[in-house]
Symmetry: none
Subunit: 284 residues, 2 copies
Amino acid sequence: MNVLEQIQLNLNKLSRSERKVADAILASPKSAIHSSIATLAKLADVSEPTVNRFCRRMDTKGFPDFKLHLAQSLANGTPYVNRHVEESDSVEDYTNKIYEATLASLDRSRQMVDTATINRAVDILTQSKQISFFGHGASAVVAQDALNKFFRFNVPVQSFQDDLMQRMSCINSSDGDVVILISHTGRTKSLVELAMIAKENDATVIGITATDSPLANECNLVISTEIPEDTDLYMPMASRIGQLVIIDVLATGFTLRRGSKFRDNLQKVKQGIKESRFNKLLNK
Amino acid sequence: MNVLEQIQLNLNKLSRSERKVADAILASPKSAIHSSIATLAKLADVSEPTVNRFCRRMDTKGFPDFKLHLAQSLANGTPYVNRHVEESDSVEDYTNKIYEATLASLDRSRQMVDTATINRAVDILTQSKQISFFGHGASAVVAQDALNKFFRFNVPVQSFQDDLMQRMSCINSSDGDVVILISHTGRTKSLVELAMIAKENDATVIGITATDSPLANECNLVISTEIPEDTDLYMPMASRIGQLVIIDVLATGFTLRRGSKFRDNLQKVKQGIKESRFNKLLNK
DNA sequence: CACATTTATGTAATTTAATTACATATATTG
DNA sequence: CAATATATGTAATTAAATTACATAAATGTG
């Protein structure tokens, strides 16, 4: 709830003088944010400390803080709104809606990500003997992206899409191995089974999934991706983008933790695939 | 143009001390708006009047006015700053930087996307006999994601990662087939070859790639993903996220264009994979 | 209703924040 | 190199905001 709304909703609960302050602000909020407390107090016909008390009552630290919050209230509300695609939408409409929904989802993910958990995951990954990434459907794509990223570090890393290969990999796992299971809902049956098998074989299981789900309950560590989202027939599942960014974060953390030797290997890989590309200047 | 953008655009034109001020603000704009001029000056290692002069240079009346404008910039949907990950970064720092870089990239992509081109691509896809998605490396992941999405529409769609299979698919293509080639730079040699082969066989070639690249030159239609980005050893390639969102947009456009028959098929697929998941209420 | 207690309010004093003035340092130009 | 312009920081001054305290008004209790 922003400050402007808060003022309007609490009008009836304000005292006589504080009501005067509210009225003066509501009469011209744009002007209020640029006014001194003295100017506003005079305009509202109250004392300066009354204005200050009003600001405190609106849960701000004082007048300058109140003005900042009011300024943000005036500046168009929340930055990205998650709106449904409608059948009648033009290409401009649905394109923008999808971008905004994705941005909104990613922003929420940014706010909710638990960096302590990320740090622990990076610890575990850094010390692992082998890393496996598994997921199904859209999350399988994330697992493959993870493979593509971690493969460049020249550490033992694998990812399979075939269900049997996944099971065998988990059966073959042992202490020091890490199995990362990726699932939006955490309710995919076969992934929960993979978690159990891996744990039975002393691997560490990390879930990139919804907390308080069957899969989360079988994991040693859970990186939460539980952003509520409206999926319907037209709206893509934006949360897989959040999963991809978590992979990015883990990969960067891994690189930073591992230090210069792995940076060198990254450079080696980058150089090694250069020939598969047209040179930027010559082959235009 | 808001204050945050103005700062970023004028970085090169600032004097040494004022550049320090800008860097301190960009490092933590949310914190800056709540700071006194003394705190910010200390943080930036400059004098208080230098901060005041910086604010005047940004066309604000002084520090309080600058803060108000900055607060509105932050509330207005362009808050994200693309900052490099440093070796000394904490997990909080690099996590936030990666999220912000991704959000910044995606926001730019949103602003630059050409909806007329999207519309044409949706036209072409809607009328196609068969759709193929190909990419390499990180873009191969995008191609697979596309397969996962379009497969649900029950239209002929394919995607291979094996180079030979890709070539054979393009050799086998004919009029009415669409080949979508995904590449960040547009300079991957084998993808350019795929484009040539597909065109020789009368397929329509759509590139999700950089304009003015070898691949773009071989395509019938180019959906541009040419967002300048700073990639270095630590920063992930955020543009693949933009490619994924373009796939989302195309898929939604396809669904809207195709109408109710395809909506029904989506429901059928969704229902069909329900049993692979634990029921939300019962199996907790 | 009267009295006691609590809450609201404004004046004045104090503190903090921001701005201005001025001297010095640095960069640029002829 | 010298002269001029620009940048910068210290110290002083002004403005803005907050706190302290006394008084007024409202509320609650017997």
